[in-house]
């Protein structure tokens, strides 16, 4: 099975891509970062944090993302007066053995001079990364996330359960798989807790969903967009049960929070709802925020199931897009990697599409380009949050 190869990092993890991360450290540096990356945008991906106020979560997320296994080098772009701790970030990257350079717009001569310096660095770095050796890699070394977005009444019938079958195959092969959005698991808490490795972990899963329910109740909206209702979904618990199908049927090995690395293979729930009193607004303002958090926990790639038809990809880690709705697939075929709508029309079984997704995961891990990669999608979003560390019952031995 193992024709996989990866880029070996000093922490022992392996990457399935070898990109340069161009990271802006405040929105004021975003334009300069984008201009720097543009000529090599297939190999240089823009990530960053827009806020000027410091935030421990954002700092940790940026550290995790800049040392993600798919990242081979990092260019930090600072305005100069923002609160983000670029010194700590640069040290973490340097200690990881990656080439890193910091540009400071206020120090380095403004927009044009910084873009020129940045592009020159990217030019030589991309060339060096292209020659980096690849080493053998096993399926069990993969971390795969799953997300659904633009859901409708078909998502829970076709795309999500098919992604679940692929997850079952990956977990069986020893990979770590992450499903998430506890706000979209409201109503599933009991059936989910019954799949936990230990009763104590089951309690943690229940508590995570209860926290999400409280959080969304305070905000006044569930994680439910108007298009979900047009597509036939009526309530948050109905949407949840459909989304829950992405997790497959494996035992749940643990509960992690964004940035926690799965300690071994198995299926993990990611708790994405902040701890403490409700602050900073909605937990994840759009689908890419969820993909970013799974990347921060090491996801090499993610499975994105969509009914209404999301077209996004992601910076740093490929996104495999699975169309749940056969009508949507006809309109957006160019954006979709898998047509799970065939399950609705009766042209394919859940097992067949699950197998197709599993094989595609291996192909993409081996270097095959996803549709969103080919179309140049490299979305990224990171906003304010705060978390407490997970408790000891979350990762049973």
């Amino acid at each position: 099975m193992s024709e996989l190869t990866g880029y070996l990092r000093t922490d022992g993890r392996k990457g399935i891509r070898n990109v340069v991360a161009v990271a802006y450290l405040v929105e004021c540096a975003h334009h300069v970062a984008r201009e720097i990356a543009w000529p090599h945008r297939d190999r240089a991906h823009v990530i960053g944090f827009p806020g000027c106020f410091p935030n421990a979560y954002a700092q940790q997320m940026m550290e995790r993302l800049c040392t993600h296994p798919n990242v081979g080098a990092v260019l930090l772009v600072s305005l100069g007066c923002e609160s983000f701790n670029r010194y700590a970030l640069e040290k973490v990257i340097r200690d990881s053995g990656r080439p890193v350079k910091s540009l400071v717009i206020q120090r380095d001569g403004g927009t044009r001079a910084t873009i020129r310096d940045g592009q020159a660095w990217i030019e030589s770095t991309v060339a060096a990364l292209a020659e980096a050796p690849r080493v053998p890699m096993d399926v069990s070394e993969l971390v795969v996330g799953t997300v659904c977005g633009g859901s409708d009444g078909t998502s829970g019938l076709s795309g999500n359960p098919a992604a679940g079958r692929a997850f079952d195959r990956l977990v069986e092969a020893g990979a770590a798989c992450i499903f998430e959005e506890t706000g979209e698991l409201i109503g599933c808490e009991e059936i989910m807790a019954a799949r936990a490795r230990t009763p104590e972990l089951g309690d943690e899963l229940r508590a995570a969903v209860a926290k999400a329910a409280r959080y969304y109740a305070t905000l006044g909206y569930g994680s439910f967009a108007a298009g979900n209702a047009d597509g036939g979904l009526t309530t948050i618990e109905e949407k949840s049960l459909g989304a829950y199908a992405k997790s497959g049927a494996s035992q749940i090995a643990g509960l992690i929070k964004p940035g926690d690395l799965p300690p071994r293979g198995g299926l993990y729930l990611m708790d994405v709802v902040p701890d403490g009193e409700v602050r900073f607004g909605f937990p994840n303002i759009s689908d890419n925020a969820e993909i970013v958090e799974m990347m921060a926990s090491g996801a090499h790639l993610s499975l994105f199931v969509t009914g209404r038809g999301s077209v996004v990809g992601s910076a740093l880690a490929p996104v495999i897009k699975i169309a749940a709705n056969p009508h949507m697939y006809e309109r957006l075929a160019e954006d979709m990697d898998v047509n799970a709508g065939r399950i609705i029309t009766g042209a394919a079984s859940l097992d067949e599409v699950g197998e197709e997704i599993y094989r595609l995961v291996l192909d993409v891990a081996a270097g095959a380009e996803t549709r969103s990669e080919a179309l140049g999608h490299a979305e990224f979003i990171l906003t304010y949050k705060s978390f407490e560390p997970i408790g000891p019952a979350c990762l049973p031995a």
Binding site: D152, G153, T154, G156, L157, I186, G187, C188, I191, A213, Y216, A217, Y221, G222, F224, A225, A226, A229, D230, G231, G232, L233, T234, T235, I236, E237, E238, L241, G242, A245, G307, R308, N325, H327, M328, I344, T345, G346
Partner: protein, 107 residues
Amino acid sequence: MTTTDTRLLLLSDADNVLVARATIEAGETIVVSGTPITLPARVIMGHKLARRTIPAGTPVHKYGAPIGTATEDIAVGEHVHLHNLKSNYTATHSLDAARAGAEGQEP
């Protein structure tokens, strides 16, 4: 169980709703649990119809699990959606009011 149109999918024996696996036009007569029903409006793929009578105040089941509570009595074959089903957790936000008069959009 009595016969049901093949375009309607039963996800779990415990369910009291069926899911449309294709869009079914208004005026078509379809069989739901042995009862012929003439559809008063188009049923869009992914939407739900009542498999049996669902009294107001009782749970609606899909995937074998509760997805909310009926807010009025629902007859066999009736469309089950925002007008007669509410969440037991948080209220559902939709643009239906803003789009008043416009027909449901094909998903």
